[in-house]
Symmetry: C2
Subunit: 116 residues, 2 copies
DNA sequence: CAGTTACCTCACCATTTGGTTATCTAACCT
DNA sequence: AGGTTAGATAACCAAATGGTGAGGTAACTG
């Protein structure tokens, strides 16, 4: 079993049901019932998907009476973006121009992130 | 089995060996032998990883005498980035500012991409 | 208290994944 | 032709994944 965070995140995202759940959560918190509604799938199946997402840090779960509301935690998405950005110059013909935009932004932010 | 492109791409990226192979290919083409060198893994194992990457469209393979040089095809990374970008406002406190930068860039490029 | 709702865990099953060794082809080199 | 090298394929195996149904728990509702 793979243990590094990025692998866990990618594996969690490699499923249309889980991505649909995340997409739903961009519109706000939701209960497990609400999340499972769009899918022809049993409760335990959804429960497993949610556990995968939670383990990947992509969602967190609260507790409110008999409901366990799910909330989006998109922080791992930042790592995904950072990873993919390393390959931007291999697919973006306008890389140089965008790169300069990002560099400008980074300088303003004071974030240090050198390219390779 | 999941069939959609994004799932295939994410699944391909959910393995450290395959990501290391991609990282190696950013430094240029390489043969299967060269790619397998850093790993304590049999040839067929590497061959399988390469097939996964090829199936995901992340690499392509040429033919040069007895070598089958692998080349990076990072186009699917664009889809990964586009996917993750949808979640930027959930993790980037500077989202509004960067968003305006990207919108400016998109206008110049003439690309249409509405946010949700 | 009894019943219902929301959700989880358990046990199970089929398929996929990631690795192995053994074998095969194709191309190069004497 | 014979040997070596690069690489793919086949058969196999263990473990992980994605689903199921059965059953349990916690909280609300009558």
């Amino acid at each position: 079993m793979v243990t590094d965070q990025l692998s866990i995140t990618f594996a969690a995202l490699a499923d249309p049901t889980r991505r649909a759940i995340l997409a739903r959560l961009t519109r706000g918190e939701a209960t497990v019932k609400e999340l499972s509604a769009p899918f022809a799938m049993s409760g335990p199946a959804i429960s497993k998907h949610l556990r995968v997402l939670e383990h990947a840090g992509l969602i967190s779960r609260g507790r409110e009476a008999q409901w366990r509301p799910c909330r989006l935690e998109a922080e791992p998405m930042r790592e995904v973006t950072e990873f993919a950005e390393e390959y931007r110059r291999f697919w973006d013909e306008n890389y140089a121009r965008l790169d300069s935009y990002l560099k400008t932004l980074q300088q303003k932010d004071g974030t240090d992130d050198d390219d390779q």
